[in-house]
């Protein structure tokens, strides 16, 4: 089966890979582009561990085909920090103990960053519904929601 040549921008860098038409964007990011921060928890769009932004829109990369990413701008957890400077969400997740095993953390950070770009002052309920597509089995979400609220507050103050 012939493979497709795909060119995409991942976290600002141009990335090229050959992809089987059956492979998902998640498969391509992990297996062809070496972007291992994107995690597979279900492969059916239910857990959010593979959350990335595709041209600014939050998607489950397991529900996008690799070939659909041609020419797209993709954002993953690896692109959240600016150089050596962690994003406030990353700092607050550590500070609030908002991760235990950490496997859901990359997807939740991508989703939360996407929320704060659209809504810098979300309520607790808005955060809970925005993150309802990101399963965490360890924390019961309490400290995650607090970390997002605290990061949002800090970012509002800074802006």
């Amino acid at each position: 089966m012939s493979k497709q040549h795909i060119t995409a921008t991942v976290n600002g860098d141009e990335v090229e890979f050959l992809c089987d038409t059956r492979e998902t964007l998640l498969d391509c990011l992990r297996d062809h582009a070496g972007i291992m921060g994107v995690k597979e928890g279900c492969g059916t769009g239910d857990c959010g561990a593979c959350s990335v932004t595709l041209d600014g829109r939050l998607v489950c990369s397991c529900l996008v085909l690799g070939v659909e990413a041609d020419g797209a701008e993709i954002g993953t957890v690896e692109g959240i920090a600016e150089g050596e400077k962690l994003h406030p969400l990353q700092r607050k997740f550590i500070e609030h103990a908002a991760l235990q095993c950490g496997i859901c953390t990359p997807g939740i950070l991508v989703a939360a960053k996407n929320l704060l770009e659209k809504n810098p002052d979300p309520t607790e309920t808005e955060i809970r519904y925005w993150l309802a597509g990101n399963l965490c089995r360890c924390t019961g979400y309490d400290k995650i929601v607090r970390a997002v609220m605290d990061a949002a507050a800090e970012m509002r103050e800074a802006s």
């Binding site: 297996d31 690896e78 095993c101 950490g102 496997i103 953390t105 089995r137 360890c138 400290k143």
Partner: protein, 747 residues
């Protein structure tokens, strides 16, 4: 053991520094099971039975092997014969032999040059099945006409006359039940069921195995316990235990489900067959739900008697549990812990371990305890309601405390149930006003904890830091706890401690991170190893000063002369001693190995408020409070995290999560959309109160806190729904359809 010598004033313990692995885990750098690759690596995939029970007549892999890129196929014929006991169970579960025993049971495995080719190849393997009658329900499996899953699976304990599917029997108790029930003013009898729930870790099982023709190799795997993986995988393969070195990756959740093996022996067998090429295997979520261990389902009968003023006079429980196609449903623990919260003179438990055509159960957080708690704590709630008694006061009246003879026999040492009940009673949540269709539920729970085989090592480094090597994978922040305990023991800053999770080649045997033991046992081992180092550090100072080592003490991170008689020398810091250790006798390290027996259980009390929509039967959690005894909270934020996570899992089990089998014996919901774990919008903030009744068996008083938290939510939520609706529902989960039927009188 007395409290003498136990520390009570701390510099580092009880603070909440950033975890050492935090940065890796918020940047995507942390390497989990599926994140590891090797040059020349192949990819594995597994063919699984679509039948609940079927004889495997023939397997033809010729078409698969003919596919370009396919390097090997293994079936049971590639594994040795002659195993027995649990080793045979593991082998049979990893790869079906004569029969497929459940929907999802592995039948063959393939290694190929890409994941896609491996998956394509699996579809080309032809299997002739002779489909057999099946049974997936525990009560149905005990009936005379139930299909026999395996003759001869029962052990010595099973009385004659029971169905061959009953494989273990438990019977324990004391006192005089007739007398106890005669003293009661009210006796309530109820039957309850709970469904199987999956641990639901977000990271599917994944491993990378490499084994040469000589039967030696390596395994990288996400696991709670790599020494368990080593022993089990080599047993399944019939090779010497130490032929395989196992390195744990970061682990994306386990909750008990990653204390056993599934694909690990398959990857090694495939690797050997390809001449030693590394073979990576990663399960899909479908495979995780169909073929890895959920917990047992349970069917239970409870009878309890109480006096008008709330004293429990007698309790009897019968617990029937299925743990899939193999012995192992945790009915032993269920019977032990069913009534363990209380001081009951007349008590009796009967337990049945039953096999069915379901996947082999695996441990799940406090295995066996939540089911029993649902049945017993619901019954106590009903007794309180009928007698007009406050549920917390009634529990206080009966609560086990230091010196109480536990319902399972021995006397309790210092424990904290009373303290959790008192803290719950005075918490604002317990007096918050409730509106229409709202209700409050209370329940307590217990987990007895565990010590387990433990080996640790601490090395002094030349830059003045210390490196702690432990063998319990960090599943929820335990590196931070170890670093805090080492910092406290040495009197050096938290930042000067490094924590490694060592592979099986670097330490003696360690049991997994399970049984709520890691912070207790690896923590104890870290402290004792540090003390071992401190003795050697003092000796170096003594040698330098030319005085007797006995005359040197360790204080605030420094060796000091013990008093004026010892001599006048300025203190030597750890960094100073470390900096010159290369020229004063060489490296300094400390060790500790034991199966520590000083663990002590943790009690918890939960208070939940719910609102039930009378139109739909949907239950919303309004407020949730966890009060639990941590002994001493090393890193309080991660202790709270354990409380909250346990509560969330228990809420899921109570409200939504269940294994649903069709008439065909196939799992109907092997996907997270239908196996519905709680999401962020299902839950409120989860309030926590950490009670600290120190455990005398740990230098800092630690009790394990991981498991207790999943035990009270099942009954607490059911008790709250009872108050909100007026209906006692005895079957979990409390899915909307079931609650609505109860409200409408159809339940």
């Amino acid at each position: 053991m007395a409290l003498d010598g136990q520390k009570t004033a701390y510099k580092y313990i009880g603070t909440t520094p950033d975890r050492p692995d935090g940065l890796d885990k918020v940047t995507g750098r942390a390497r989990y099971g599926a994140d590891i690759s090797m040059p020349g690596m192949l990819h594995g995939a597994v063919l699984r039975s679509p039948h609940a029970h079927a004889r495997i007549v023939k397997i033809d892999a010729s078409k698969a092997l003919a596919l370009k890129g396919v390097k090997a196929v293994v079936t049971r014929a590639d594994f040795p014969d002659g195993l027995d006991g649990e080793d045979w169970n593991l082998q049979e579960n990893c790869m079906a032999g004569e029969k497929a025993l459940y929907d999802g049971h592995a039948v063959a495995a393939v290694a190929a040059t890409s994941p896609l080719i491996a998956r394509d190849a699996v579809k080309l393997i032809e299997v002739d099945y002779e489909v057999l009658p099946h049974v997936t329900d525990v009560d149905a499996a005990m009936k005379d006409d139930a299909p026999v899953i395996r003759e001869g699976a029962a052990d010595f304990s099973v009385p004659e006359g029971l169905h061959p599917n009953v494989v273990r029997y438990f019977d324990s108790g004391r006192g005089d039940l007739d007398k106890g029930f005669a003293e009661a003013d009210l006796i309530i009898e109820r039957s309850y069921t709970t469904e199987a729930a999956h641990q639901g870790y977000i990271e599917p099982h994944a491993c990378l195995g490499q084994m040469g023709e000589d039967g030696r190799g390596e395994l990288w795997v996400c696991t709670q316990g790599h020494w368990f993986v080593r022993r089990m995988s080599t047993a399944v393969l019939g090779i010497e235990t130490t032929n395989i070195r196992v390195t744990p990756s970061e682990i994306g959740g386990g909750f008990g489900g990653k204390t056993t093996v599934f694909i690990e022996p398959l990857s090694l067998a495939l690797s050997r067959k390809t001449g030693g090429k590394p073979v990576k295997m990663v399960m899909s979520r479908n495979e995780v739900l169909r073929a890895t261990g959920p917990t047992a389902s349970a069917s239970m009968d409870i009878k309890m008697g109480m006096t008008k003023d709330g004293k429990i006079t007698a309790a009897h429980g019968t617990f029937r549990m299925q743990g899939g196609a193999f012995p192992g449903a945790p009915v032993d623990v269920t019977t032990m812990l069913a009534f363990a919260n209380y001081d009951i003179e007349n008590v009796h438990h009967i337990g049945y371990d039953v096999i069915t055509n379901r996947p082999k159960q695996a441990a799940y957080r406090a295995p066996g305890a939540p089911m029993a708690a649902f049945a017993t704590e619901s019954t106590i709630d009903e007794l309180c309601r009928e007698l007009g008694l406050d549920p917390i006061d009634t529990r206080l009246k009966n609560a086990a405390r230091e010196g109480t003879r536990a319902t399972f026999g021995p006397k309790f040492g210092p424990i904290g149930l009373v303290e959790t009940l008192e803290a719950a009673k005075t918490h604002p949540n317990y007096s918050a006003p409730l509106g229409p269709n709202q209700g409050r539920g209370v329940a307590s729970g217990y987990w007895m904890n565990w010590g387990g085989e433990t080996s640790a090592s601490v090395a002094i480094s030349e830059d003045g830091t210390v490196t702690v090597s432990i063998g319990t994978p960090d599943i929820g922040g335990s590196r931070a706890s170890m670093a805090l305990m080492a910092a406290e023991a040495f009197g050096i800053p938290y930042e000067d401690v490094r924590v490694n999770i060592s592979d099986t080649g670097a330490l003696g045997v360690n049991e997994p991170t399970h049984g709520s033991r890691a912070t207790y046992a690896s923590g104890l081992a870290t402290i004792r190893s540090a003390e071992d180092c401190i003795g050697k550090l003092c000796k170096r100072a003594a040698d330098k000063w030319g005085i007797d080592p006995e005359a040197v003490i360790w204080e605030d991170g420094c060796a000091k002369p013990s008093g004026p008689n010892a001599g006048e020398f300025p203190p030597m810091s750890l960094a100073e001693i470390a900096g010159e250790m290369g020229s004063t006798g060489g490296p300094i390290s400390g060790h500790f190995e034991d199966s520590p027996a000083g663990f002590s259980g943790s009690f918890g009390t939960h208070v939940v408020d719910v609102e039930v929509d009378p139109e739909t039967g949907r239950t919303t959690i309004l407020r949730y409070l966890v009060v639990q005894d941590a002994g001493k909270a090393i890193h309080p934020a991660y202790v709270e995290g354990q409380f909250q996570g346990g509560a969330a899992q228990g809420i899921g089990w109570a409200l939504n999560e269940e294994y649903i089998y069709g008439e065909d014996g196939r799992l109907q919901n092997p996907v997270f959309l239908d196996y519905r774990v709680p999401v962020a919008s299902d839950l409120p903030m989860i309030d926590t109160v950490i009670v600290e009744v120190p455990n005398p068996g740990h230098p800092y008083g630690v009790r394990g806190v991981g498991e207790t938290g999943i035990t009270p939510p099942l009954p607490a939520v059911a008790n709250a729904v009872r108050e909100a609706t007026g209906k006692r529902i005895c079957n979990l989960p409390l899915r909307p359809s079931r609650v609505l039927a109860a409200i409408q009188g159809k339940g």
